[in-house]
């Protein structure tokens, strides 16, 4: 019972954070709303028994990536932004499409898996089990992903590096 109350409570916080993210005009408030969304998602994962995913969600998303977002906003000293009226396509196609998609997902979930709850820890979620899956069953996809990430990093370096500054550094040794 307490689980369900906590789950609904943090679910509500998550949705409220997401709505606030869109409504705020200042980028730093939006970024912090996103942190709230990430944090409450982590609590939801924890309540579902996926403790490792919850911890990684906080460490990687809330604690590292969002810090960099905030860092960039602070560095650029971005000011208030005006709300645009929104695009017509988003209103006339996007909103009904989203409603239809979520209705479909809800229908499938209700039809297929029923609404029975699962005991915490009944599904694999511990670090050992995830490590076993990652480095045993899914080793090849894991390694391929790491190479993909490496390529992305190198691409970012190439795009960000200023060729003249690199030459200048070389000349000065």
């Amino acid at each position: 019972m307490l689980h369900l109350i906590l789950f609904l409570f943090f679910g509500a916080i998550c949705v409220a954070g997401a709505v606030n993210l869109l409504l705020q005009t200042h980028p730093i408030n939006s970024a912090l709303s996103l942190v709230v969304v990430m944090g409450s998602l982590a609590v939801e994962y924890l309540l579902l028994g996926a403790e490792f995913v919850a911890a990684v969600q906080v460490i990687v998303y809330a604690g590292a990536i969002m810090v960099l977002f905030v860092f960039v906003i602070m560095l650029l000293n971005a000011g208030e932004e005006a709300h645009s009226g929104g695009s017509r396509i988003a209103i006339y196609i996007g909103v009904p499409g989203m409603l239809a998609a979520s209705a479909l997902v809800t229908w499938v979930l209700l039809q297929r898996s029923g609404t029975d709850s699962v005991a915490a820890g009944a599904l694999p979620g511990s670090p050992q089990q995830i490590g076993w899956l990652l480095f045993h069953d899914f080793l090849l996809p894991f390694e391929v992903t790491s190479i993909l990430v490496l390529i992305a990093i190198m691409g970012a370096v190439v795009l960000a590096a200023n060729p003249e500054a690199v030459q200048q550094n070389k000349r000065e040794g």
């Binding site: 990684v56 906080v58 460490i59 604690g63 960099l68 602070m74």
Partner: protein, 341 residues
């Protein structure tokens, strides 16, 4: 019953932690004073022992000034964020074995979770928001520079810190701090304790030490508040209790870092145990506290001895030296463990 015991443990832990924070400040002033051939606090109480209380009263009664140019919601929230995440991480720190008092059988920590280390890392990585946001919301260029430096520094050194812990995790095979400590019991050849630092993890301990100094913004890496260039850095615009909250967060983080170093590298509460039963029951906690004290003393000693790095030195040290060293340590540890099994 469980809730009753938990509440007692939470109150007791918070009380001990806050007292420890206050007296770490006293210890620092005293030790740094003696290093610099001064006395440190002497006026309030014997050896200045009541100085923390006097400071606390002073912080409470000072005017809580809010400058007109700040962005108020975040300016007020920032010190709270900093202190909340600093104090929360102590909940996962075990200080000794399980104890039985009457019918109550409980671990000597607030809660025993199997991913304790990950939760502590998560909480400390959230703590940077307090400093970054205080720097930004103060609307002052020195504060902003301090906040920027803090977030860049903490994100950079978190990687080396995390990698230095992986060697210990490979050796003990668990994220639970209690199991990590249990894996360090006993001795090599009868006299060298099986602490992780003697199990080949001394390089990892060195990396952890450096990264921890940077994470807690202490000398030689205290660039976010470098007073010679940034006035006081991110907390320039703060006064009274809000300023004290940043101070508390910094010292609580120091204590958490010392606890983690003790648990992960220095054998936790393991140490020679002798004497009558009542003494034997208390000895583990004594060893734990003694190791934390030694680590905190090292912190203060370094502060009294070393100058501050330049910012580019800080970054190149973190990325070009500590990170490759941590990766090399990880690879070698993994190879040794794989070949041994």
């Amino acid at each position: 019953m469980f809730i009753f015991v938990s509440v007692i443990k939470i109150v007791l832990t918070l009380f001990i932690l806050l007292t420890a924070v206050a007296y770490t400040v006293w210890l620092e002033r005293k030790v740094v004073g003696h290093i610099q051939n001064r006395w440190g606090p002497t006026r309030v109480g014997p050896f200045g022992l009541l100085q923390p209380m006097a400071d606390g009263v002073k912080f409470l009664f000072k005017e809580d000034l809010t400058p007109p140019h700040v962005y108020k919601p975040l300016y007020i929230a920032a010190p709270m964020i900093a202190v909340v995440f600093a104090l929360t991480s102590i909940a996962m720190i075990p200080v000794g074995n399980w104890v039985t008092i009457g019918s109550i059988h409980t671990p000597l920590e607030i809660t025993d979770v199997n991913i304790g280390l990950l939760i502590i890392l998560g909480l400390t990585s959230m703590g940077v928001y307090g400093i970054a946001l205080s720097g930004w919301s103060s609307n002052n260029k020195y504060s902003l520079l301090g906040g920027l430096r803090a977030s860049a520094q903490m994100v950079s050194y978190e990687i080396a810190l995390g990698l230095s812990l992986v060697g210990v995790l490979i050796l003990s095979g668990s994220f639970s701090l209690r199991e990590i400590v249990d894996a360090q019991g006993g001795h090599f050849w009868g006299f060298i304790p099986r602490w992780n630092i003697f199990q080949g993890q001394f390089v990892a301990f060195f990396i952890y030490l450096m990264a921890a100094y940077a994470e807690t913004n202490r000398i030689p890496f205290d660039l976010p508040e470098a007073e010679t260039e940034l006035v006081a850095g991110y907390h320039t615009e703060y006064s009274a209790m809000k300023f004290a909250m940043f101070f508390m967060a910094e010292y609580a983080n120091m204590i958490t870092v010392a606890c983690l170093a003790t648990l992960l590298f220095l054998g936790g509460w393991h140490g020679p145990i002798f004497g009558p039963p009542i003494l034997q029951a208390l000895m583990p906690v004594f060893w734990f506290v003694a190791k934390i004290f030694a680590f905190l003393f090292l912190y203060i000693w370094v502060r009294g001895t070393l100058p501050r790095f330049r910012y580019d030195q800080l970054m190149s040290f973190g990325w070009k030296f500590l990170l490759p060293l941590a990766i090399a340590n990880l690879v070698i540890t993994a190879l040794v463990v794989a070949l041994r099994s």
